[in-house]
């Protein structure tokens, strides 16, 4: 009896396969019969709370919302941990492109890893959409025809924060800077903006990365005449610096703390007593419109945390990619890239965004201030809007671009 059941099952499978062959043949425009998206992210390091599993969940939501297939071809999602090491990220990207037939890589927090993946993607002629790294070099001197920088970049952080804060009268700055490429770039860009707005940089200190005690640097900042203490730091460094700034009473001594890169997961981890009053720039906050609230509520049910702007960006990037391959009828990189650049970006966090020729996505950016515990009415009710900055003022104009793809007039 059992024997017959097995035979019947095998026969059914074979039959089903022969039936499905013509369908596959029809969708041959999509290579190897499936669309494969790889989420390359940080699953174990400092960035794993703000990206990591949440990025994977956001990508899954985007695929599900799209119906799980494009013109009948199934979409498959895979993911890997790059451990914040450029070599690990690069070898994963190579394996994905060469062996696993991955069509597009998404997310890639950590600029060093992203820059490595950018070059490999160009070499293999696939698509990479960077939703989480910061470095504006991705659309500057390291731009490629195969890469899109989705959510934000260091240029926008520097410009939005620098201009808006100086405009509000806080014109003398002191930088606490992480002593590596990211921190240096952020300090340099922001400092240039501050000075172009007639503000003044009165001092800065370069702090070793992954430092635990910031009290010494905070006291140096406190002793300076600056009105603003700007943190050009990331991850755990930002958190410990903020926590200890509260301990040493920087706020009470009249200093305004500006965090140049801060995710809502970090504000949540620190709590409002330590973070109140901090100003920050971000492209997304969950409580901005009915659409952002609807997405964030669904995300919260999956992850028990509100989405960070990185994770929201992953959703947008995957959706836009799927829309483009549907419209183009192929997953061949050059056509898909062309379609993505021709199609306006519209999702819950982006209204009429555009993908520029250098790969830069133009979107509005927002300057927020963290609420005081009294102002916050519910869990995750953390930010109040100070001002919004239109896309064309937030991002680097093409005239300043070092990207070789940009045709200079």
């Amino acid at each position: 009896m059992n024997h017959y059941a097995v035979t019947a099952a095998v026969a059914a499978c074979l039959f089903a396969q022969t039936l499905s062959q013509p369908v596959l043949a029809q969708s041959a425009a999509y290579s190897d019969g499936k669309i494969k998206i790889g989420v390359l992210t940080d699953l174990s390091g400092q960035l794993s709370d703000s990206t990591g599993q949440g990025s994977i969940a956001a990508a899954q939501m985007a695929v599900e919302d799209f119906g799980g297939s494009v013109n009948g071809t199934p979409v498959e999602l895979i993911f890997a941990d790059h451990q914040n090491k450029a070599d690990v990220g690069a070898s994963t990207a190579r394996r994905w492109y060469d062996v696993d037939q991955v069509d597009a890589i998404i997310d890639v927090p950590n600029s060093a890893v992203a820059l490595a993946v950018q070059q490999i993607t160009k070499e293999k002629n696939r698509v990479a959409i960077f939703s989480s790294p910061a470095s504006s070099d991705l659309t500057g001197k390291a731009c490629t025809p195969n890469g899109i920088h989705w959510t934000y970049d260091t240029y926008a952080l520097a410009h939005v924060t620098g201009e808006a804060v100086v405009a509000s009268g806080l014109d003398s700055w002191y930088f606490l800077t992480s002593d590596y490429a990211f921190g240096h770039a952020l300090e340099r860009d922001t400092g240039a903006v501050v000075e172009s707005q007639k503000g003044k940089v009165v001092g800065s200190v370069k702090m070793p990365a992954n430092n635990a005690d910031f009290s010494s640097f905070l006291l140096q900042a406190q002793a300076s005449p600056a009105k603003v203490v700007a943190l050009a730091t990331a991850g755990a460094d930002t958190q410990n610096a903020i926590k200890q700034a509260a301990e040493f009473g920087l706020g009470q001594s009249g200093k305004n703390i500006v965090a140049l890169l801060l995710a809502i997961s970090e504000v949540h981890a620190l709590g409002l007593p330590a973070t109140q009053g901090i100003m920050l720039t971000t492209p997304f906050y969950w409580d901005m419109s009915d659409e952002t609230r609807a997405f964030s509520k669904r995300f919260f049910e999956k992850r028990k945390a509100m989405p960070t702007f990185y994770q929201a960006g992953v959703y947008g990037a995957v959706s836009h990619y799927l829309k483009a391959i549907k419209a183009a009828g192929t997953d061949a990189a050059p056509t898909v890239m062309k379609t993505m650049k021709e199609t306006p970006v519209n999702d819950f966090m982006t209204k009429n965004g555009t993908v520029r020729e250098d790969g830069r996505v133009l979107r509005d950016m927002y300057l927020f201030q963290v609420k005081t515990p009294a102002e916050s009415k519910a869990p995750w009710d953390y930010y109040k809007l100070v001002r919004s900055i239109p896309a064309e003022r937030a991002f680097r104009p093409l005239s300043e671009s070092e990207c070789p793809l940009v045709k200079k007039m």
């Binding site: 794993s48 070793p208 010494s216 002793a223 755990a236 301990e247």
Partner: protein
Amino acid sequence: MSQLLGIPPQALFGQLLLGLINGSFYALLSLGLAVIFGMLNVVNMAHGALYMVGAFVAWLLLSYAGVGYWGALVLAPLVVGAVGLVLERTMLRRLYKVDHLYGLLLTFGLALIFEGAFRHQYGVSGQPYPIPDLLKGGTNLGFMYLPTYRGWVVAASLLVCLGTWFAIERTKLGAYLRAATENPTLVQAFGINVPVMVSLTYGFGVALAGLAGVLAAPIYQVSPLMGSNLIIVVFAVVVIGGMGSILGAIVTGLGLGLLEGLTKVVYPEASNIVVFVIMAVVLMMKPAGLFGRER
């Protein structure tokens, strides 16, 4: 003389005081390491992880059991000490007869497991732990603003360090311990239960790490990675002081804290390597460490 090393002397005092605060953390942690190495000959790589566990126990007690800082200050070291006892009884014990390296590898593996487990459960962003009400606020000393809590940390860790030094070097129990290290068979022959004493020593050593964790919780984010950032420096402190030297660990911990504080003003970029430069120099001049004996 209005400037010292290019810094106004008032600012210098401030930085030295901060160095002393960090130094007292180094002292407390390296003391535990020194006790364990001195008595058990185990290079306890799990020390940083157990420091992290101490901070997490404090946070868990506060969040789920409503036990505040002062309760945690007693309970968390007991919990961590108990964990240490279990580790010693079930695993470390089997390695005393083989090379030191095996103990090092075992405790290193344990550290990775602890960190991985907490990271899996709580993520890397860490948890906030408030400063207890009694120690909130601070005093303006004229040359700097000293948060009360930091003052308390220095006082508490100095007290614990000196107490430990006294117990080991000046009491009968300490004499037994030191004798058992030299010649366990002979001490056993006098009717003293050496294995139990060794277990308790390990438990006590890691309890010190747990205590340091509770003291650190209100200053740093309570995060699974907090121990791995600190442990390397603390090992350098122990090497400079002389492996196994109790007094060496305390004095070197405080001294290096001061020196690091000074570097943070003079040349901040070097502040995370100055300790290792000194370690290299000390190893060249005096391989057994400043306070160590050649074995």
